[in-house]
């Protein structure tokens, strides 16, 4: 029982940090760079992706014994595309302003390789509970990554967060941060940090192992 709990926790947490879809796997770059010019857009995109990924993973895992492997990719895409259409219309009806800002990037969630990747690599092979946990973790990691990028870019590029001005009138916004180059710049710096962190962690673990051997 204990072991199973550990397993669930691991499937959930790996998407948030260790295997973060954006910062470690570097997947889903198109929405990542395109809609993170403000924190609210990033969150709306993250939520839509969350809904699509968790819903698709649940269905794919539930039907994994019925879907013949020859047509599995087509079935995954049908399932994903249905959820995307549902998300598209729901956003259009509930929050037309956000939908306007995200524009073409909502339908493009279908082409987010992170989602199809999770179905192929995980949901189609594991029981529903683990598949949903994995999807929640991965989508959560994606949402977190989008939000951090969106928040950094909005704060630096517009001097605001969620549209609220943070600095006085004397703040000169660093406009390039909310333009496409700012997306690449911010993402590059964050990836640099993640790789540096991983390097340091590996070095640390190697030191510990060596010390243990010596002692």
């Amino acid at each position: 029982m204990k072991k199973q709990d550990n397993r669930s926790y691991d499937e959930f947490i790996k998407g948030i940090w260790r295997d973060n879809p954006v910062f470690v796997q570097v997947l889903g770059m198109c929405p990542m760079l395109a809609v993170t010019n403000s924190a609210i857009n990033a969150i709306a995109m993250g939520m839509a992706t969350f809904f699509v990924l968790v819903g698709s993973s649940f269905l794919v895992s539930s039907f994994r014994d019925w879907i013949p492997k020859q047509v599995r990719i087509s079935c995954f895409i049908i399932i994903i595309a249905t959820f995307v259409t549902v998300a598209d219309y729901t956003l259009l009806a509930l929050v037309p302003k956000v939908h306007k800002e995200l524009g073409a990037f909502i339908p493009l969630i279908v082409a987010n390789c992170m989602i199809l990747g999770r179905q192929e690599a995980f949901s189609s092979r594991y029981p529903v509970r683990l598949a949903v946990l994995d999807a929640v973790g991965m989508a959560g990691g994606f949402l977190l990554a989008l939000f951090s990028l969106g928040a950094i870019r909005e704060i630096l590029g517009d001097g605001a967060l969620f549209g609220m001005k943070l600095f006085g009138d004397n703040f000169e916004p660093w406009v390039i941060m909310i333009l496409p180059p700012g997306g690449f710049l911010t993402l590059g710096v964050i990836l640099l940090f993640f790789n540096w962190f991983k390097l340091k962690k590996d070095e640390f673990l190697a030191d510990v192992a060596e010390a243990e051997r010596g002692g």
Partner: protein
């Protein structure tokens, strides 16, 4: 399920593959139609409300509106639009007196088409207000054409004869000049150009001041909540 190994070697029959995809497609189709049908009323109402709000915003003092089309050489009230017909919206004060037209216009901006609505009073040949309905202008720069209150405010009581002229910020001297936005010169000039072009197109079709179609008894569009 006879045996997994048999399935591995021979594979499922074509019928099973076709059926799987057909069923998946059917369920997906039903789900999509369901969500479309259930959100359509809200989406239509949202769009109608946006347009109505925009009409009242670009025509101050207006409380009723009706849709007008240019048909057979004159401007008439019409509920339904035929294909290729463009509508303008007549705005009327609470007593039913004509105030001005709200004219939809569209044209290329810096990124993509800018769609906007402007209020126009034929009596004084003045633009009364401007509201951007649709734009993909650069966030933080071009989007100031609707976020910059000073620029949007510049379109109240702006003379459109002979045409609106966009000038550098702070140099507005004549009633037909408007300050462009620093950092969004192209987008603000695009707005001015779109209004000028649309005005030239419509000025020949609009009736003489005073001869506007009266507010129809049948279809007064109320200011209140939509259906």
């Amino acid at each position: 399920m006879t045996s997994g190994s048999h399935m591995e070697t021979a594979g499922p029959g074509s019928l099973r593959l076709v059926l799987t995809l057909a069923i998946a497609g059917l369920i997906s189709g039903i789900a999509i139609i369901g969500i479309y049908e259930s959100t359509l009323p809200t989406i239509t109402a949202n769009k109608a409300r946006e347009l109505r709000e925009a009409v009242f915003k670009v025509l101050p003092g207006v409380s009723q509106m009706q849709q007008l089309v240019f048909r057979d050489g004159e401007l008439v009230a019409a509920e339904e639009l035929a294909k290729d017909e463009q509508a303008v919206y007549g705005g009327y004060d609470p007593k039913g007196n004509f105030v001005g037209y709200a004219i939809p216009a569209a044209g290329p901006g810096f990124q993509d088409t800018i769609g906007l609505l402007y209020g126009f009073t034929p009596k004084d040949k003045l633009v009364l207000g401007m509201e951007v309905l649709e734009s993909r202008e650069t966030p933080g720069l071009g989007d100031k054409i609707y976020k910059d209150a000073e620029f949007v405010g510049g379109f109240s009581a702006l003379s459109i004869e002979p045409e609106i002229v966009a000038v550098k910020k702070g140099t507005k001297a004549r009633p037909n000049e408007i300050d462009t936005i620093t950092g969004a010169t192209i987008s603000s000039k695009a707005v001015v150009r779109i209004i000028n072009e649309t005005h030239n197109e419509w000025s020949v079709r609009l009736p003489q001041p005073g001869a506007e179609p009266p507010l129809g008894e049948t279809e007064p569009v109320d200011t209140g909540e939509g259906p």
